[in-house]
């Protein structure tokens, strides 16, 4: 009799269930922490330079460079692009172009064509009219910033007294 009870006790100890309480404790701690810090929307950013008081070196007149500086003006939905020789000295006539903010890929394509030609892109100066929406400005700035050939994108602002 006692031998049968011993056998039953041995079987019971072997059939012990998995203890899930420590696992549950871990989940109860980790899940709220990760929920609070979870990023369901991926954030990005457009990095820009601001104009400095004395910017760049003065380009000497007798030094000819094939580098091009651009001025990009956004007025409502119109993007107006003007090209200048390095240092914003002389305007390059055949680089004057106009685009629509709803098709920024045309601006990107134009920049690629210029950079593949005889001239190299240097810096770009961006200016937007007051009625421009922030979203449209970011759209154009993203195209400029993303273009590998442009060395820098400077945000031109109104003078502050």
């Amino acid at each position: 009799m006692s031998f049968l009870r011993k056998k039953q006790r041995r079987r019971e100890s072997q059939e012990q269930e998995l203890n899930l309480i420590p696992v549950m404790n871990l989940f109860v701690c980790l899940v709220p922490f990760l929920l609070l810090t979870a990023a369901f929307v991926k954030l990005g950013g457009v990095d820009l330079e601001l104009p400095k008081a004395a910017s760049g070196e003065a380009v000497k007149e007798n030094e000819k460079s094939n580098e091009v500086d651009l001025i990009v003006q956004l007025d409502g939905s119109r993007i107006m692009l003007t090209g200048y020789e390095k240092g914003f000295t002389n305007e390059i006539e055949n680089l004057r172009s106009e685009f629509n903010v709803d098709s920024p890929e045309k601006l990107a394509k134009f920049l690629t064509e210029v950079s593949l030609g005889s001239r190299k892109l240097n810096a770009s100066l961006f200016k937007a009219s007051p009625q421009t929406r922030f979203e449209d400005a970011v759209k154009v700035l993203s195209v400029l910033r993303k273009h590998e050939a442009l060395k820098s994108v400077v945000l031109a602002t109104d003078r502050v007294n």
Partner: protein
């Protein structure tokens, strides 16, 4: 005398296995999406960010949120500063906040604004930052799904 057998109350065991399965899936999902950098951004919930394909590699310490009524500096509204006022005297609170925060001139500043905000307010804010000697700003955006890896 017959002894009354005590009947054990019938209790069904708590089935923890499905709950653990569910929590495991949720945990793996959250670990994959864990991003401590974006948790540092103090942005208002009602702001809808513009889209961009560019990524944000590092979150700047100084964060300025702009709308047409007020400007927030690291989550705190700057009293007395109305972005629609172009007079430089009314922008003193921004200069004072930058001075209090011991912000270095070469430190980048994160600018956040709703996509429908008029650019004039952003322009004025950035203008005052440039006048205070700051040289680098980041515009916070929502990353486009078409963004390439490593951008």
């Amino acid at each position: 005398m017959k002894k009354k057998r005590r009947q054990r109350p019938k209790t069904s065991p708590l089935m923890l296995t499905p709950m653990v399965d569910m929590l495991t899936v949720i945990l793996i999902f959250l670990i994959v999406h864990y991003s401590p950098e974006t948790a540092k951004i103090k942005k208002s919930a009602d702001i809808k960010l513009p889209m961009s394909e560019l990524s944000l590699k590092k979150v700047p310490r100084i964060q300025i949120e702009i709308n047409d009524q007020h400007i927030q500096f690291n989550g705190l509204a700057l009293d007395g500063l109305n972005p629609s006022d172009a007079h430089s005297a009314s922008w003193k609170p921004l200069s004072e906040a930058l001075a209090r925060g011991s912000v270095k001139k070469d430190e980048p500043i994160l600018i956040m604004a709703d996509k429908n905000t008029s650019f004039v307010y952003v322009d004025r804010t950035v203008g005052h930052l440039a006048a205070n000697g700051f040289s680098e700003v980041y515009f916070l955006t929502e990353q486009d799904k078409k963004a390439k890896e490593g951008n």
